[in-house]
Each structure stands twice: as C-alpha cells, then as structure tokens.
C-alpha cells in the first residue's frame, strides 16, 4: 500500500517532536499541519487537539513523530519516540527522521496489525503551507460533477486544500505565546498582519453605515409615486442612462451591506464591484476634468447646433435626390412628391425646434457634463442618449417608411391571394380557395395593380431610411458594448491573478526532487494558477447584457416584410 505524507516545507528545519494533522483513510494519505515540540504533557496535547477539532471541524490528531537529529542517531530518542506511539494511539503511526543536513529522510510506519505482508511504499509531498492555505481551488466542470457523485471520495487535492484552509486557528499561535504547547508551522515565527488592512477594516464600518443611509434615501426618492406617472415612467424606461444609474445603485447597495461575505465567491464579487466602481469613477473624473478645462463644454455646445444643421441639410439633399431620379430608377412622380414633401416638412419642423432650444444648449450640456463624475459608464450612456435624441427624426422617418411599406406588403399579399382566387382562413390559419363575385375581383385586381406599380417608390424610401436607422443602431450598440465591458470586467480578479497567482488555483503540479534509492519518493507540490480566460469567465459580474435579439435570418425576414426592428434587446433578468 502506498502511503502519502503531505509535509509543509516550513517544518523541514523544525526540532524533533510530534506530527499533528489529519489522516484521510480513504486515500491513505496524511496531511501534516504542524510539529509539536518537546517538552509537552500528553494530556495537554490531547486537550488542545480536541479544542482545535471543535473549532475547525476537522479530525485533527497526532499522526506520528518527527526527529531531526543534528548528530548521529540517538538510540534513547528512538526508544522514546516508539513509546510515544503507545500514548497517542493512531493507526498507522508515522515516523519521519532526518539526519544532519541530509536531504533524504527516512520514513517508517508502525501498525498493530499489519494489513499486507508487502513492503510499504512512501511518497513524501512537500507543500507551501501559506500558499495552500490562501489559495482557492477552482475545479473544472467535470471534476465538480465527479465530486458531487462520489461524495468525500472525490478529489484528494480538494481534501488537502480544504484541511489546510480550515485550520487557520491552529496557525494563530506563534512561538512568542506562553502556552503549554510549542508548535512549528508557517506562522510560528510571528503572526502576519497588515496595519493598513486593519485600519481599513475599522474604518469601513462607519463608512458602510453612512453609505447605506444615503442609498436608502436615494432609492426612496426614486421609488416615490411622483416619478411613476405614465409619461415619466416611459421616458425613464427608454433612457439608457437611468438603467445604468440603477445598475450602479444596486452595486453600491451590494458593497455597503453590512453582511459579511459567506464564501469566497461572494467576497470576490464584492471586491470586483468595488474596484470596478473605483476605476469607473476615476476615469469619469478624468474625463470631466478634461472636458471642463479650456471651456471645452462651450466649444462642444457651439459645434452641436451646426452639426445638427449639417445632418438636416444632408437629409434634405438626400430627399431631393430621391424625389428626382435616384440611381437611375424611375419613380412614380405623384407619390414621390407627396412623400418627399412630407419628410421635408418634418425636417423643417425639427430644425426649428433645435434652433428654439439653442440658447439653452450650453447650460444643459454643462450640467449634464457634471454627471460624468458618477462614472465613465454614465457618461457613455448619456452620449448614447444624446445620439438617440439628435437622430430622433431619422427614427421617425424609419417608422413612417416601415409602416407604409408594411401596409403595402400586406395589401399586396392579400390581393395576390384574391388574384389567384384564394383567401386566408383566419379560423383554420391556412389559405383556402374562395369564389369571389365579379365586382370584388375587378376592384381587387385594380387595387393590386396600383399597389404593385407604386411598390418601387415606397420600397426605395424604406430602404434608405432603414439603412440610416441601422447605422445609428450600430453606433449605439457599440457604445453599449463598451459600457457592458466596463461593467462586467472583473478587474480585481485579473489583478489578483497577475500579482498573487497562487490565490486562484486551477490545479496543482508536481515536481520530482532528487531521489536516493531506498528512501521515499520526494515530490514538490506547486500551485497551477487559472488561465486569464477562465478567471474572467468565472468571475464575470452580472450585467444587463445588450445582445442581438434576432438571428440573421429572422432579422432579414423582418426587414423584408417591413416589421419594425429593435435589434438590441436589454435582458429583463440579469445575465450571470
């Protein structure tokens, strides 16, 4: 039978004593957590172990003895160590011994009833206690399903990591403590702590309480009935800025809640949200400082009106082109003139409204620009909303053109059925034959002909305005994609993977150390960190993702039929 001993590399130079840790019988492996030094009273050791066991919920026990003799092997010490095995009864009793500065240790076990006559083989696995304690194992999907089914027979490595992580209490005593037990482990030279972390922990409590209070005020204002009336609620739902602000409010609520994070995932989530908010606000403030320097806001406001005018002029030229002979196609003169004049009048109205608003533009822009301090994402959402407002007339034209085209297509398809002597049966949801009267057929055919010959004109207007609308939608989609990226990127996890890669472990890797025949096999266990792709995938923040609602084929079908398209759909529930 192969016996595996996981030995912490910090205890390799410890004085002789007892090995304490956890024995995992299903895997025939022993995880050594610390070494208890002489002198000790066995009763006190047992009491201490049972206390630690109660707190950490791990079966900690004395696994064996460790002897580090600087000189030749002492016979007396050997006998003493053998006697210890009778005091602390543990099956099997492991004896590790190191001579002088030799790298190769000898390992033997005592068993009251030897199970197999074959000689036992030992594997000594060295591990870095501090790194294994702090690290979080991320098993792949196949391993998690494996673990669920087999229960505790599953991952050996998971058990080792679990054992070391849960015994934090054991590592809290260092050699300067005046206790009855003297231990050696990774922190026995002195407990590590950081003053900055402690100060921040103390300061975070009042800050969180203040933040919670402010947020409750803000959310009560937002939920007030005044803002729920129909026109306002419609506007709020359409503006992406409000959505983004609501999203950030939720994030702030998560951070400022005074419930401690239960497990690692929640802790990482909170840290990611905090870093994301911090970076967002920093970038927003940088943007704001750049905008307000040298009166750039004023310059922006001054160029806004000429830009809107320019867009309107371009649209007017486009309509004049359509009213003439666009791309060599011959249009129906009367319908062309009607549609063209209608749209031209619309543009004229729009320009008048813009000019009416022009004295207030600078002031509005100045105050709106202040909200960039809430974050870069808010500034980008405002930009997206401004684009939507400026191109509102394109949206209107698209809706008019699409509706007209849609009506025409429906009329054509229905009259085409009449032309062939068929009819749509609404009850049975299928096409049935039908006998029409002569006058019905006559009028139907006449209308069909009229609609058919007017189709190219309407279709061309529809095509032009749909293309313009798709362009605007594309630009807005890009901005929303950028906002989503900033929202959902887990920056804290990526920085952790960069600087402290042992905290996020995908698996382990073993290195075979120098061997000597006759001595146990020596391996070094190191942590294999997660790849950056898996880090981002595992710790992605929830976001209201902006994704294309339709596949390409259904989009083309909708475009052909003339249905109004809203290609970006915001998910109602969060995308995890």
């Amino acid at each position: 039978m192969v016996l595996k001993v996981f030995f912490p590399s910090c205890c390799a130079t410890a004085e002789s004593g007892l090995l304490i840790g956890r024995w995992i019988p299903e895997q025939n492996s022993a995880v050594v957590l610390a070494v208890v030094h002489f002198p000790f009273i066995p009763g006190q050791v047992k009491q201490y172990l049972s206390e630690v066991q109660r707190v950490t919920q791990i079966d900690m026990c004395v696994l064996g003895s460790w002897s580090n003799s600087k000189q030749e092997k002492e016979e007396v010490l050997d006998k003493f160590l053998e006697d210890l095995s009778t005091i602390f009864s543990h099956e099997p009793w492991i004896q590790l011994s190191k001579e002088g500065d030799s790298k190769f240790w000898s390992c033997c076990i005592f068993q009251k009833c030897p199970s197999s006559p074959k000689e036992d083989e030992f594997i000594l696995v060295y591990y870095d206690q501090r790194k294994v304690m702090l690290s979080q194992l991320h098993p792949t999907d196949s391993l998690t399903t494996f673990a669920d089914h087999k229960g505790n027979d599953a991952s050996k490595l998971g058990a080792v990591f679990d054992t070391v992580a849960k015994s934090k209490v054991l590592f809290m005593t260092d050699r300067y403590d005046d206790g009855p037990i003297k231990l050696t482990h990774w922190q026995s030279e002195g407990v590590e702590a950081s003053i900055i972390v402690e100060l921040m922990k103390q300061a975070s409590v009042p800050v969180c309480m203040l933040l919670t209070f402010l947020l409750s005020l803000v959310s009560s204002v937002c939920k007030s009935r005044v803002l729920k009336f129909w026109p306002l609620s419609f506007i709020w739902s359409k503006l992406s800025t409000c959505e983004q602000l609501g999203h950030r409010l939720e994030h702030l609520q998560i951070i400022s809640s005074n419930r401690k994070a239960q497990n690692q995932t929640q802790l990482m989530r909170k840290a990611n949200i905090f870093v994301s908010l911090l970076i967002d606000m920093t970038l927003g403030i940088l943007l704001m400082s750049w905008l307000y320097r040298e009166n750039r806001i004023g310059q922006l406001a001054d160029t806004l009106i000429p830009v809107a005018d320019h867009i309107a002029k371009e649209l007017q030229d486009l309509l004049q082109w359509l009213m003439g002979v666009p791309a060599g196609l011959k249009m129906n003169r009367a319908l062309d003139q009607v549609l063209g004049r209608f749209f031209l009048y619309h543009i004229h109205l729009w320009i008048s409204y813009i000019h009416l608003m022009s004295p207030f533009i600078e002031m509005i822009l100045w105050y709106v620009g202040l909200s960039a301090c809430l974050g870069l994402t808010v500034a980008l959402s405002i930009l997206s909303d401004i684009i939507a407002l400026l191109t509102f007339h394109i949206y209107c034209f698209y809706v008019y053109g699409a509706r007209l085209y849609c009506l025409k297509i429906y009329g054509l398809s229905s009259l085409w059925r009449l032309f062939r002597g068929k009819k749509w049966n609404v009850l049975r949801q299928r096409v049935d034959s039908c006998s029409y009267d002569l006058d019905q057929l006559f009028i139907g055919t006449l209308l069909f002909t009229i609609l058919l010959f007017l189709l190219p004109t309407t279709a061309l207007y529809y095509l032009v305005f749909t293309l313009l609308r798709l362009l605007v939608v594309f630009v807005q989609g890009l901005i929303h994609l950028l906002v989503d990226l900033i929202d959902s990127l887990p920056l804290y996890s990526v920085i952790l993977r960069l600087c402290r890669s042992y905290r996020l472990a995908a698996s382990v890797k073993f290195r075979v150390l120098e061997q000597k025949p006759g001595k146990p096999l020596r391996l070094l266990m190191q942590i294999n960190p997660l790849s950056y792709g898996s880090v981002v995938q595992t710790y992605r923040l929830t976001t209201y993702a902006c994704y294309p609602k339709d596949s390409w084929s259904s989009l083309c079908k909708k475009l052909f039929v003339g249905e109004l398209i809203y290609p970006w759909k915001h998910k109602e529930e969060k995308l995890d």
Binding site: M1, V2, K4, N28, S115, S116, E121, I123, V125, S142, L143, T145, F146, D148, H149, K150, D153, A154, S155, K156, L157, S507, V508, K509, F510, V512, Q515, L521, L523, N528
Partner: protein
C-alpha cells in the same frame, strides 16, 4: 535513465527519455525536432524580400521598419505560443498523471489528472487526411456510469511519435496502472 531515438509521424527525428524514480513513479519525455536555422532564415528572407519589393513600389520607408517589427513580433509569438520543445508525461502511481509541454521560450504548460479520474491509458488510431495515425490517450472515468468514458485526453499532440515509441510508453504506463488495480483489490479484501 534510458534514451531512444525514434521518428515522428511527419518523419522528423524525436528522442524519448525514460526515467524511473521509484516503483510507482515514472517519467517519459519526448523531445521534438528543434527550430531549424534554414527554415528561420527562409521565412525572414521571404518577408524582407516582400517588404523591399513594396518599398521599391511605394518609396515609403515605413514599410521596411514595419517588416522588421513584424518579423520580430512574429518570432517571439512563435517561440512563446507555438513551438513546443519537449512534452513529458509523469505517472505517479497513487496520485495521478501529469502532462507538461515546454515551449521554446521556456514557458511550461502543465495539466494534472488525478488517479481516481483515470480509467485507462490506451493507443487509439485516427484517420487524418490520407494517413492512419496512432496516438496515446488517457480515458477519463464517467462519474455517473462506471463503465462509461467521459473524456479522451490525447497525449504527445505536437511531437506525434510513431507506434514503436508509443508502445514503449504504453507498456510502462500499464505496469503502473496494474499496481493500482491490485492495491484496490487488496483494499476491498481487508
């Protein structure tokens, strides 16, 4: 430690090193053919000739600097992400199987599979274009079905040794996996 020279599927010469650390721990390393100087010079010369041709056409010296930049970046990317120097397989009887690929720039990519997940190590054959090639792979246990296979992990993907080399590795691995079965048997008996 034993070393043998074999051939890869494409015809290049590869070296197999076998080391036995203990009764249940063995390591097999396959060294791929190194980067040839003539292929490197051929690639560099062709890129620079193309750049010089473009320069003569356009008279823009940016083309030349861009060509140098591209060659350098391309070489670094190739050495760090593409060219695998050595692939090794470490089998530790009761712990698991570890596969390491070391790239030409020194980067090492390691995967460790625990012994409880390993069902068996087999040689599979595959039809690739007009050839039938053999490859060594690890079959992973399906947790729900004891006789099922959940995943097939191929080994020595970039060095692609031929059947004679694979058989050596296969025989050694099977010896260690046999020990696992006997130890399981004695455990169930007790």
């Amino acid at each position: 430690m034993e070393e043998g020279m074999y051939r890869a599927v494409c015809g290049g010469r590869i070296a197999l090193q076998r080391r036995q650390y203990s009764a249940s721990c063995r390591e097999f390393s396959v060294r791929c053919p190194r980067l040839q100087l003539r292929s490197l010079s051929a690639a560099t010369c062709s890129v620079w000739l193309a750049a010089y041709g473009l320069f003569v056409l356009s008279q823009n010296s940016m083309v030349l600097s861009a060509a140098i930049f591209i060659t350098l970046i391309g070489l670094i990317v190739y050495l760090h992400f593409v060219k695998i120097d050595q692939e090794s397989l470490l089998v530790i009887g009761s712990l698991g199987i570890q596969m390491t690929s070391s790239y030409a720039s020194g980067k090492e990519n390691t995967t460790f599979i625990e012994m409880s997940q390993v069902k068996d190590v087999v040689i599979n054959e595959a039809i690739y274009m007009q050839k039938v090639i053999y490859y060594l792979c690890i079959l992973l246990q399906d947790p729900q079905e004891p006789h099922g296979v959940s995943e097939v992990v191929p080994l020595f993907q970039s060095s692609k040794p031929r059947l004679d080399c694979l058989v050596e590795v296969y025989r050694s691995c099977q010896e260690i996996l046999e020990q696992r079965k006997t130890s399981d048997f004695t455990r169930t008996l007790n």
